[in-house]
């Protein structure tokens, strides 16, 4: 067992506990909701049609989208009741996973209950059973194996889908998978997959045992299955029982630089005596709201992102003036403190292969516009929907032949291999220099500045120890060092973990 496996495994107990907790809660809530609904539906075909149609519709929404949808929904709800509802972490994940688990439970319960032999039901009526007695003595026991099969399906789905709850800030085994995919750390990805698959398989086997016990009326199997599940639940959730206070939550979006900076911030806070937790892989919109609600204590964002996404501005200001206005706006509207800029920029930069740049004498975005009808464009998944792309298109007459979206990990190889001819790279990415790509100059200043800025949650803005621990990072990181650091994580050979890289970066802070 090498060091990277040990490191990955070290994170498993806590994440497994959180994974079990969210999956079990969602499954339990889904049962509480869907079993009574199934009883009503089994007695009225009309209700059955409506209920099953709605549940099927929910099922067609991709899991990731369903999770993301709950975020604005809960924010709106929270605003409606005057705050207090957290749109971050456990609650949105619970609701989305619960909705997901409804259909298999409902469908099997309705099938099971309406499939009970009519003769048994007539006998129950003839014997003078009340509706409740009929359910208890006859319908429920006869439908139980089918209902149990539905719960089993729902359990496996829920455990699988729970890996996605990482994206709304609920820790799960998905943390390992998402972090691993971003930094191309396959040890992390495999560890996450291995444990979530093992969890799903063992739960499936145990519930299968209970189902068989019910079907064959062998009480011993039911009791044994339940006992093992209960024991597993207890052991799995044990790490959650350890009460810790003064925990700092550090947010990170879904790319390597964010992981590194989060660890850099985390290591300094640990030295200052705080207990640190990381929430990696968060969406841009979610992480800022989570910070406003103090669900996340600190994270690094970029000035242009706040400017366009949060402040809805599309005008251009000099860097310093822009930072001033952002600091005022976040403080006035969200109580968020902008501690300062880290000293480097990570903007959208159009990169081409060096041979193309030479042959077609490409230097600026105007030059790119000239040849754009022959060029295939590779971009990350969100750029084409972002206001920056609109701004570029307004400033330069760029019309690409074709556009394709990649995860950042695959965007750079796609350019190198000639699959695409130009990409919307990130200017601090180490893979630009490593591949010798040429960045085209934005001579008209169409793309806003993307200074990396450290943002603090309202409840930390007056925490002096906290601020003192992080203040040395302000204006301390050069773009060269950030590129090198990013490359240490992103490169294929001699990869470093974000934590190792953060240590390296910490030794090279500018005084």
């Amino acid at each position: 067992m090498t060091g990277s496996w040990q490191q990955a495994f070290a994170r498993v107990p806590e994440l497994l506990a959180a994974h079990v907790q969210i999956s079990v809660s969602a499954l339990f809530l889904a049962m509480v909701i869907s079993l009574p609904m199934a009883i009503c539906a089994a007695r009225s075909p009309k209700i059955a049609t409506v209920v099953l149609t709605v549940a099927s519709l929910i099922q067609t929404i991709p899991g990731l989208a369903l999770l993301a949808l709950f975020y604005p929904l809960l924010l709106g709800l929270s605003a409606l009741v005057g705050g207090g509802i957290s749109a971050f972490g456990f609650l949105p994940a619970l609701l989305a996973l619960t909705l997901y688990a409804l259909l298999p439970i409902l469908r099997n319960a309705v099938t099971g209950l309406s499939g009970v032999d009519p003769a048994a039901k007539e006998a129950a009526d003839g014997l003078g059973m009340t509706s409740g007695q009929k359910l208890y003595y006859v319908e429920a026991p006869l439908a139980a194996p089918t209902i149990m099969a539905g719960i089993r399906t729902a359990a496996v789905w829920t455990i699988g889908a729970a890996t996605l709850s990482t994206t709304v800030g609920q820790p799960s085994l998905g943390d390992l998978i998402f972090a691993g995919l971003q930094t191309q750390n396959w040890t992390l990805v495999l560890t996450g997959c291995l444990f979530s698959a093992a969890l799903a398989i063992s739960v499936d086997l145990l519930l299968g045992l209970i189902e068989r016990g019910i079907r064959e009326r062998r009480r011993i199997l039911v009791v044994a299955g339940m006992a093992v599940i209960a024991a597993g639940l207890l052991i799995a959730t044990l790490p959650l029982m350890i009460v810790r206070d003064n925990i700092v939550v550090i947010g990170a979006k879904n790319f390597s630089e964010q992981y590194i900076l989060a660890r850099l911030i985390g290591s300094r806070l640990e030295e200052a005596g705080y207990t640190v937790q990381y929430r990696d892989g968060l969406g841009s919109a979610i992480v800022f709201q989570a910070l406003s609600a103090s669900d996340v204590d600190v994270y690094v964002d970029y000035s242009g992102t706040i400017w366009t996404n949060q402040m809805q501005r599309n005008d251009m200001l000099p860097k310093a003036a822009m930072l001033d206005q952002i600091a005022q706006w976040t403080s006035a509207n969200h109580g968020v403190k902008m501690l300062g800029a880290l000293g480097f920029e990570n903007t959208y930069a159009f990169a081409v292969r060096p041979e193309d740049a030479r042959a077609k004498s490409l230097r600026t975005l105007d030059d790119l516009a000239r040849v754009s009808s022959d060029f295939n464009f590779g971009t990350d998944v969100e750029f084409l929907e972002r206001p920056e792309w609109q701004m570029v298109q307004v400033a330069y007459p760029i019309r690409f032949k074709h556009a394709r979206s990649f995860s950042p990990t695959f965007m750079y190889p796609a350019l190198a291999s000639g699959e695409v001819d130009v990409i919307s790279a990130f200017s601090s990415d180490g893979r630009i220099a490593a591949n010798g790509f040429v960045i085209l100059e934005d001579s008209k200043g169409a793309v806003p500045s993307y200074e990396a800025i450290m943002l603090l949650a309202p409840k930390r803005s007056s925490d002096d120890i906290f601020v003192a621990a992080l203040n040395p990072l302000v204006s301390a990181i050069t773009v060269e060092n950030m590129r090198k650091a990013n490359y240490m994580v992103d490169r294929q050979d001699d990869k470093k973990t974000p934590r190792q890289t953060a240590r390296w970066l910490n030794d090279r802070l500018r005084e």
Partner: protein
Amino acid sequence: MRVSGPSISLNKVSRHYGKVRAVDSLSLEIAAGSLVALVGLSGSGKSTLLKMINRLVEPDSGAIRIGDEPVESIDPHILRRRIGYVFQNIGLFPHMTVARNIAIGLELAGENEARADRVAELLDLVELPQDMASRMPEQLSGGQQQRVGVARALATRPGLMLMDEPFGALDPVTRDNLTYQYKALHDKLGLTSIIVTHDMAEALYLADRILVMKDGQIKADATPADLLSGNVAEEAEALVAIPRAQAAHLIALSKLS
């Protein structure tokens, strides 16, 4: 062991399904302790009539009394617990042992004492061996299952038994056996029994009074002897003609040999 069954009275009872009059303004008095067969073709309304007595079907109009009590004054599930109900599809609970199936009525009534003794007594009564008690219904033959069905209906000592084609799905030998044994049980326990059947031969053999139904009304009401002697009603004559012709044919065959 002997209980005395109640009398039944129906006064202008009707039940419609859409435009079909399943039971059409029907009035009827059944004396306590009688064994009445309700005979008729499918769709004649005999099952509907039977099920209105234990309120499995509610009448649209008219009044039904058991003894002196109007049935609608009693909560349906309380009423049904006082009436034994046996039907063609038996409806044993497949997830319960034979013993628990038989005792389920006692369980519902909250009678927890000496349940096992009562089960043993009922198994004897329907002539099943005691070791059947621990078996599951699927391990029994059709005839054995219906014996359990009868035992289950008798568990709470009802005075009135309603039976809807009870032996219709059984083979002729088993059926004949059960019919004979049920008649004996009826007399022994002093029950009032109403048995729906489409088989006139069974009715002639079993009942002390036969009601022939057609289009929701009673077309003939006679003892088996009167029915056989003819001169009753056209509808009854058509049904009686079949067993009579079969009997004549059998006699003729036996003379030939």
